[in-house]
Assembly symmetry: C2
DNA sequence: TCTTAATCAGACAAAAAACTCTGAAACAAA
DNA sequence: TTTGTTTCAGAGTTTTTTGTCTGATTAAGA
């Protein structure tokens, strides 16, 4: 089995999207977020720390502390989160794992996958959290149970 | 770091492509194949066994035995190898890991990724090993060192 | 000031994926 | 019939990823 993004990255994306559904600087504890995206609190906590280090979200310690979206939702793209957690190797390496895959020595899917890969990158780069907000809010609300 | 296919799947694809570069029923030992695709012999051996079980390649025991492409190259597609090793969950599950991702409750990239995912599936399904043969032979030869 | 609730750092544990080893069975060729 | 080379099954090991625990630090509110 395989996926595009690691578990960490999926949860990081979900967490950031969750934060983007609320007014800027609204604080949420790791516990609240973890319950909402249905993942272990400690694990989510670690991921949020990583994203704090990379500057996408901010944190506040102490009683009634938590995490918040630090950068304006109009300036954050999904690719920024992916880049912070998984890196961008996915968009560089040969999808079949061949070494030296290039225009001169292409793998059997070099051209077709290259095109799709670029479109995937574009998909994650073109829209900001602000632009995705409506659909995000809708999805977040559907997670309530 | 993430990739589309697991290491097993990448090597399985490479091995099958390697076999498809030669006339049907040509035998290669696991050692020969592993050296060509630059991977551990024992690991490649295991992967080839999996593909043998799924019927894509055949095997012959004993002295001067080895593995060979069992199905006609005109009837094998890359998706068949992917399906045999990694399965097809990649083409079913939400790329952001959200539960219940659907038209009614779409994730923020449901539509765009859905389209790209279908195109990726098509890419792996449309062409057979036979149709990819020229570019495969070229790539295989470039691996010689 | 004390209690409580939060982040955070680092070590730790468990599970999954990647990779190795051993020994048995098959079989070609000497 | 013996020797050498191979697949193959299953167990074992290593590494990576996922997930947990502990304790220190921070800070709001009673």
């Amino acid at each position: 089995m395989t996926v595009i993004f690691s578990k960490k990255c999926e949860l990081g994306l979900q967490a950031v999207l969750y934060l983007s559904a609320f007014p800027k600087n609204t604080l949420f504890s790791a516990l609240e977020i973890s319950e909402k995206i249905n993942a272990p609190k400690e694990f989510v906590s670690k991921i949020l720390q990583t994203l704090t280090t990379s500057g996408i979200i901010g944190s506040k310690k102490g009683n009634s502390g938590g995490f918040f979206l630090k950068i304006d939702p109009g300036s954050v793209r999904l690719i920024d989160v992916v880049s912070a957690i998984d890196g961008l190797d996915l968009f560089r390496n040969c999808v079949l794992g061949f070494p030296g895959c290039s225009v001169d020595e292409p793998c059997p899917v070099h051209e077709t996958w290259g095109k799709l890969r670029n479109e995937t990158y574009t998909m994650l780069s073109n829209q900001t959290l602000a632009e995705l907000r409506d659909i995000t809010v809708n999805k977040i609300n559907s997670l309530k149970k």
